[in-house]
Amino acid sequence: MNRTPAELHTNRRRALQLLSSSLAIALTRCGEPREEIVPYVEMPERLVPGIPVRYATALPMAGYGRGVLGITIDGRPIKLEGNPRDEFGGGGTDIFAESAVLSLYDPDRSRIPIKDGIVASWEQFSGEWANGPGAGTANGGAGMALVTGRITSPTMLAGITALKMRYPELRQYRYEAAHDDAPRLGAQRAFGRNLDVIPHLGQADVIVVLDADPLGPGPNFLHNANEFSLRRNSQQPQRIHVAESGLTLMGAMADRRIAVRPQRIAQIARALASGFGVNTGAPGLSPSETAFVQTAAADLKQAGRGLILAGETQSGSVHALAHFLNSQLHAPVDLLNPADPEEQNHAASFSAFLRDVESGQIRSLIILDANPVYDSADSRQLAKAIAAIPFSVHCGCYANETADACRWHLPLSHPLESWGDLKSPGGATLLMQPLIRTLYDTRSSAELLNLLTMAAPMGARDLVRANWMPSGGSDFEQWWRQSLTAGVVPNSAPAPVSATAAMPSFETVQDPPQGVTLSLVPSPSVWDGRYANNAWLQECPAPFTKEVWGNAVQLSPEDAARIGVGFGDAIILRRGYSEIEAVAAVLKGQPQGAARAFLGQGRWRAGDIGNGIGVRMTALCPTGLERQIDGISIRAGGKTGLIHTTQYHTKLEGRDEDIFPLAASAQIASRLAQLKPDTGGIVPPLPADPYAWAMVIDNNLCIGCNACVIACQAENNVAVVGPDEVDLGRDMHWLRVDVYELDEADGLRRGFQPVPCMHCETAPCEPVCPVAASVHDHEGLNVQVYNRCIGTRFCESNCPYKVRRFNFFGYSRGQEYGNLGQPPVRAQHNPNVSVRGRGVMEKCTYCVQRISAARKNAEKEDRLIRDGEVKPACAVACPTHAIQFGNRNDANSAVAQLQHDPRHFSLLAHLDTRPRTTYLAKVWNPPAGQTG
């Protein structure tokens, strides 16, 4: 029916009609939607619907394993926690482990085999393989190539051995984009063979760090963080000297730090060695470098045990020198036979692969869970060369850049739905068991190798069991069940080997070349790019820049001034004929002439989340695996670069010195005394209740790794908002890690301060709420009642700690970012936490669902909740145990004890908000003869 606009015009009669008809519609059904209950036909044994079950499994990180416990509810994995029985890791997690559960449900994961861009089947592939390259046993599989990442899994290694038995001419190339070639070269030079060097940070009295970041992301991170925290928690002081070419988490923990260009590190290492009777020639050092070396050397000589750590962007000779000095100092390091048995170094292997592909020697190519097209400097060239290979197959969880170039793509199962085994960097073997049946028609890597070998078809579980059958002893089933329950194969950690480090020879150190030196380091959020399609990780603020959804180039203020750019301005980097456009992040403490950037962004076939984020820095490399590139010229220009950062969203009112008190250990008590308000407030204290929940966060232990942020996101269904909303200041993280930089007498010092809701006893957010949506409960929690909230945001403006987050849109219901609203992603949601809708304020609840669960357990036994029974997600995740939670009214609880610590303080105490979340101040341990 066509109507003229005049007829559509609403008059009084029409308005009344609409009003009464809508009222009538509303009255016809006031009740609830019809719902069904669908029980099992046959209930699995011991299953109680709604009760979380924990399974031990392991997750790969650059080929190494780390033990995790997967929490599943009604068969859905919803959260991962560290496995305390994985002694190497110590029970914490990092952001990669926490976010794996989101990757499991990623809608972009490959679901079915694909041939030439068309849906195919596994049967079709096995047929083509058997009649094609797989039939070539007569010539021993000549021209066949296998490309993998680092493999430590005994079952997979056995699978590769079987494949090589069948095809003796098969060539294997193994590389990791974020590789450890420099430490390997160092070990080869010092010990004459490949050895893994595992440092024990906790046992060293003095640590000298040469451009290394033991607390940065990586397979050893959990081990290092745990050891670091155990030492800091003990009363024995430790001193950390750091010389580095960029900002690292270890540098932020340093008692003394200098920033130098990466080439100077070799000189500093030599000067340090000459203090220990090694004739290294007399390198010329600047006054500040000399001072650094003198204090470090003096400290090392005085200390009981010293430890020297060299970084992965440094050369093999610096590592060899560090090994030599460590053996002189009897440093606490374990030498282990490598968990990765491959002899060849990563860069050599990768170059050989590039050469063989280009020369056309490879006739059939199998790429197993690697992405060489993205990792290679000249992606287009490599993609073209791979496309020319007659038979090429890419196996991975995603149809990525390399899959695009290959004829076949085979989908791999996610680690959380696979059987398998992995070795931790400490050498212990971890078992993987699936938390859920494969969501799609995928295979695990072990099954795939079995398929390529054309052996009798076997499930992944049987393959793993068959591989372990000889180790199980007489009662294999008993052994298997025990190992699976623990997640760790008993007594599998190897004993350290002994080796003597030879005095290394010295190369002549060249002067730093013209131009800027660019160090490429693995991203603290997406590692080498393999996690780029994980929205939690993309929106996880980088430690110093607080950048999300991108990888800006970190420049020193001097360089930035010379180029004429500021924080967030567009720049163009050029090396030879390669040029890339990027964004500058200007950071104090970055040495002049050195820039630093993160790998892993700039992907074009990552998926809906990761495509087109940031810049692919490896385009500047000669091959793609170089980690330090000299002679870069930088100029302003390019597309208007918009840096996405959460840095200034939540700036607290006050002087940084007062918000983040910092002093030498001897002075901290008097420093904090200055901050104490003179008088108490006028509001009377809360009435007593058995429980008064409180949290104490130790700034001295916080290394800024963000594990708590992602753990909170996973536990509490915290939404991702995307880069555009971040630019408007609307990120939703309930817990953030603030970074502070303070100019102290001896230079710039940095520190991290995690800020969840303070649960103030006299909460400023409560009296301003017109609908009483922000109220207190009897146990001291400041609770937000979503159903009452009408979204005035008065509470947010009145919160001095800026911890409240508002759903400007339906970020988690109806208007999700990217593909996060698709059904598979919803399966990740924690059923014990409300999913918040549009127009509602939300914030940290102290994980009230966990308190509630613990209270019910205790009350069923007619007792009070014990100390340590409630642990919020952030506290469980923290690899340094910096977050303690408990009942303040129990004098024996951990939090009550910590509140008597001389370093204890409340944030913005002068406001008399009486926060339940309090802090222990960061201190440093000044070198001898220096008061701080």
């Binding site: 209950i37 036909v41 046959e42 209930m43 109680v48 709604g50 009760i51 009897h778 609770v783």
Partner: protein, 207 residues
Amino acid sequence: MARTVMVAIIAVPILAIVLTFALWESPYATSQFVTQNQPVPFSHEHHVGRLGLDCRYCHTGVEQAAFAGLPPTHTCMTCHSQIWTTAAMLEPVRQSLAQNQPIRWVRVNRVPDYVYFDHSIHVAKGVGCTTCHGPIGRMPLTYRGEPLTMGWCLSCHRHPGSFVRPRDQVFNPDWQVPEDQDRAGAALVRQYMIDTSGLTDCSRCHR
């Protein structure tokens, strides 16, 4: 005429408000006493009231989990593979087992998603089945015995002493409130260590 209009101007809004509230609390809105069409006309009156089956025989999760649980088809078939094996009424149950397809029951007792109700703690603290589910042993077809509104929840959370019963009576469908409930209930609240101060906190049921 003018007088009628004046009365109407005052009375109509008042009546409308009264009517709205009455409707709001009425079974029409709360679905109280409403039976649903179920795939099998299961009778609690028969199984519980007459045969005396324990609630926990079918609702196995009630002492451990938030959700009391509905029985898997196998539980029905423990008896019905022996008795009434050809009853037409039980055809959906037999089909469910034969085809390995679950029976899809229509939900009768429901609280909104933002309410995190937990059966196990209520049962442990002496709240009986019939306190919330009504005279279940006398229901030929199951209906919602109580309104399950927040005000109704709070009536007990404010005064648990009026409702709690001895632990051995929790699953008794015929339990009657004794005359001395005021005294006995108060004693039980002390015995169960129920801290009434926090029972009406928002965070008790909403997260």
